[in-house]
């Protein structure tokens, strides 16, 4: 393992590049997971509301 570049002059470019990538990819992957869970709850509430309506 050689991480000498962390103390080198290029770390100021490499670290932000990976940080930006991590932030963008995490958001892209996780946003639909959380919105999906919220959506399931909302749909379940709609169905429950419909079932409670007198036919």
């Amino acid at each position: 393992m050689n991480l000498d570049w962390l103390s080198g002059p290029h770390a100021v470019y490499i670290l932000p590049a990976y940080a930006i990538a991590l932030a963008v990819y995490l958001y892209t992957a996780l946003a639909p997971v959380f919105s999906g869970k919220r959506q399931l709850r909302q749909i379940a509430d709609i169905h429950q509301h419909q079932d409670q309506q007198p036919s």
Partner: protein, 257 residues
């Protein structure tokens, strides 16, 4: 009936099943965890190899290590656009709603890959070329790709009826495909600050194997990521579109219990 014919018939039936939103939702739910597993199994060793085992470049020093995120993102940004256009075409020709939905869900993921490509390329450009940005062929055409993705997303959101929106945005995706060869050949057609092709799948690559392997591993990891993210988004969209249908009612009840 011969076994050969029955095999193709089974393949055809399996393929057609993907057109059913209910079947798609169920099956993709089983596939997604495996795609994430594949992504992590490749991305973790790929990153460790690229950031700590691969040697520094003789000319660029350590700044080249941005390649392990920049190049896989750039390849993926182009591949996703092509996939989006093919799915949009399938949706238009055969009127398959799942294909239309898949195509539309490609756009935000492709935009994310393009943003990362532009940002990491810019950060790599500063120590290598002395500038964060130059209006050269490769960079400008990649920026145009981002605008195309944003155009597809915007057009889709601007039209209320989902199927009409998917068809209109799909048409833009089909037209936008013309930008892909421009991105690829920009370094050959024009004098660009961006370096020429380093990796060749049919000829000899001008990159050392110690750098090539982690790069290829990261590129494959990006495909697994795309698969998982695409299926997750498509499942959500189908669920919302079909919220009044029985399969959604059963699915929601199943997930609650």
């Amino acid at each position: 009936m011969s076994s050969h014919t029955s095999f193709w018939k089974r393949c055809k039936t399996w393929f057609h099943r993907w057109g059913s939103p209910a079947w798609f939702y169920r099956t993709s739910g089983l596939i997604i965890p495996w795609l994430w597993a594949g992504f992590f199994l490749l991305a973790i060793p790929g990153l460790i190899w690229g950031l700590s085992i691969a040697p520094p470049d003789y000319l660029q020093g350590d700044s080249y290590r941005i390649i392990f995120i920049h190049v896989p993102s750039a390849w993926q940004s182009m591949l996703i656009f092509a996939v989006m256009a093919i799915l949009a075409l399938i949706g238009m020709v055969w009127r398959i709603r799942v294909a239309e939905t898949l195509a539309m869900c490609c756009a935000p993921i492709g935009a994310a890959f393009t943003i990362v490509t532009l940002a990491t390329g810019s950060l790599w450009g500063k120590p290598t070329w002395g500038t964060f940005w130059q209006w050269d062929g490769r960079m400008t055409s990649e920026l145009v790709l981002l605008f195309l993705y944003l155009g597809v997303i915007g057009l889709q959101q601007a039209i209320e009826e989902p199927r009409k929106a998917a068809r209109a945005a799909g048409l833009l995706a089909l037209v936008g495909v013309v930008n892909l060869p421009i991105i690829h050949y920009s370094v050959e057609w024009w004098t660009t600050l961006h370096q020429g092709t380093t990796i060749s799948f049919f000829g000899e690559s001008s990159i050392d194997a110690s750098m090539l392997w982690p790069l290829l591993i990261m590129a494959i990891a990006a495909k697994f990521y795309f698969g998982a993210a695409l299926l997750t988004r498509t499942r959500n969209t189908l669920l919302l579109q079909d919220r009044e249908k029985n399969w959604v009612r059963e699915t929601v009840q199943g997930e609650k219990s």
